[in-house]
């Protein structure tokens, strides 16, 4: 089988970017603060550890373990909320990773509901949600729900702000991903349905065991497009008082003694975002190569 090898251009790109970072950065302390925020090391490190385990479970094709690890990650995040949310680039990374599973689940659900034609009410419901959420700007949706929406519900319904943000991001990226998945479903030949039905599988089983795995694997590259977009959009949390990378940079530049460093600082911010996006892209590439072995003969 075609075993995945780390792309050498990827390594060169990232190494150059990291070197550039160190050259541009005023000093190491600033760089460290941009990435990890104010002295938060343990949270991100454990996070990375969890992610490594997740990687391993995916590699071993153990879906149950992968789900368990995602749940652990999520529980860990929830437990950490009251001790203080991480700051710096880690806000963006942690929030993205937190949104990924929910985005995926919502997208799959909406895509299937919109694609199928048996349950008409649910089909209409999914279509309405997808089209209305996709048609408004993310920032408008966030401000509406977090300010106006908060006034409309009773106080005991109020959730931690980060949970609300998590839901908004998941929903917003979810509807985009749902359309990606729907495209995948529509490209499945009718032969798949006939083949599965002729084996005695019910429509539900056909979806769960045949169609969904195929669509998910086939759309990995397009899905990572959405995930990278999600990652970049997480910098909007600065509007709600989170010290994400962008906010830390803006804050840093507020001090008069840093006024002349603005070009350097903005370049640093952009390079940091770029590095994470590139790593995500490479990870998507890796997943696609690992799971689409059956494409081997197709050139």
């Amino acid at each position: 089988m075609n075993q995945y090898k780390l792309n050498s251009t990827f390594i060169i790109k990232v190494v150059i970017a990291v070197i550039a970072l160190f050259i541009i950065a005023p000093d190491f302390v600033v760089l460290r603060r941009f990435v990890f925020g104010f002295g938060q090391f343990i949270t991100p490190s454990i996070f990375v550890l969890f992610f490594a385990i997740l990687q391993y479970t995916l590699l071993k094709n153990n879906k149950f373990m992968a789900l368990l690890v995602w749940m652990l990650i999520f529980a860990f995040i929830l437990l950490n909320i009251k001790d203080g949310w991480p700051t710096g680039l880690m806000v963006n990374v942690v929030l993205t990773l937190m949104c990924l599973p929910m985005t995926f689940i919502l997208a799959l659900l909406f895509a299937v509901l919109r694609f199928q034609s048996t349950l008409l009410v649910l089909k209409i419901f999914a279509t309405v949600i997808i089209e209305s959420v996709r048609g408004v700007p993310l920032i408008g949706l966030m401000i509406f729900i977090l300010s106006v929406g908060a006034d409309m519900v009773p106080a005991y319904w109020m959730m931690p702000k980060i949970i609300t943000l998590w839901m908004i991001y998941s929903l917003f990226a979810g509807v985009y991903l749902a359309e990606v998945f729907r495209g995948g479903f529509q490209s499945i030949p009718k032969a798949y349905f006939d083949g599965a039905y002729a084996l005695g599988m019910s429509p539900l089983k056909t979806y769960v065991y045949v169609l969904v795995p195929k669509v998910v694997i086939d759309t990995i590259p397009a899905a990572f497009n959405v995930y990278i977009g999600l990652f970049k959009e997480t910098s909007l949390v600065l509007l709600f008082g989170y010290f994400d990378l962008m906010n830390i940079a803006l804050n840093y530049l507020d001090f008069p003694e840093h006024y002349d460093e603005s070009i350097k600082i903005y370049m640093m911010v952009l390079i940091l975002f770029w590095i994470v996006a590139t790593i995500m892209h490479e990870y998507g590439h890796y997943l696609f190569k690992t799971f689409s072995k059956y494409e081997a003969k197709k050139t």
Binding site: G195, A198, I217
Partner: protein, 248 residues
Amino acid sequence: MKPLLTIDQLSLSLSGKEILKDVSCQFQTGSCSVLIGPSGSGKSSLLKTLNLLNEYDAGLVCFNGKDIKTISKTELRKKIGMVFQQYNLFDHLSVMDNCTLALKRVLNLKKRDAHEIAQTYLTKVKMNDYGNAFPRQLSGGQQQRVAIARAMCLQPEVLLLDEPTAALDPEMSFEVLETIKSLAEEGVTMIYVTHEINLARHLADQVIFIEEGRVVAQGDVKEVLDTTKNNRIKKFIEQIEHRLYGSE
């Protein structure tokens, strides 16, 4: 002897177009029936109707003396397997997963038992070394043999074959035909749609000629293919043999 499958005055229309009209025929247990006829005559639709991939409008199809509409679709399809012209394998699953999918998810067998059964049938079609390969890495003939093994894994009483060799070159179709012959010798009831007149001569216990949704002739091979008085059938067979062996 009581027939395994009976079709009585079956009519079928798909999206407003009438495909089958008043089709009646019977299939005996352990027999091999061959459906022949020109393209678009409704042979494939008839096959798909037999395991309810097409819903028919009027008439009666009985399996083991029971109306197939009263049997649940899953139960029916467990007993009536189907092999398609374009193999219809799942590209993203390995050969072994293709074969064990239905065993695991429809019959709810354990993984090990499913593997054992799949291995048996893959050995029968001589594909046992390719368990870990993916369909796209195989040749057409190999894929079709896997498709036959996949259908046979559920141990159906009837196997429907919808032009299994039509998309294959002669060498590959030979591989597949060998497999089908060996299955026929084991006594699997088969209903076979084909243009291979020679295969029909070797294999068939019964030949049914269909044209424009009607059964034109049915009976044993000699009756329908050799001593027929029907001009249409004569012309059809002549054309096929003409195509196969060239004009003189």
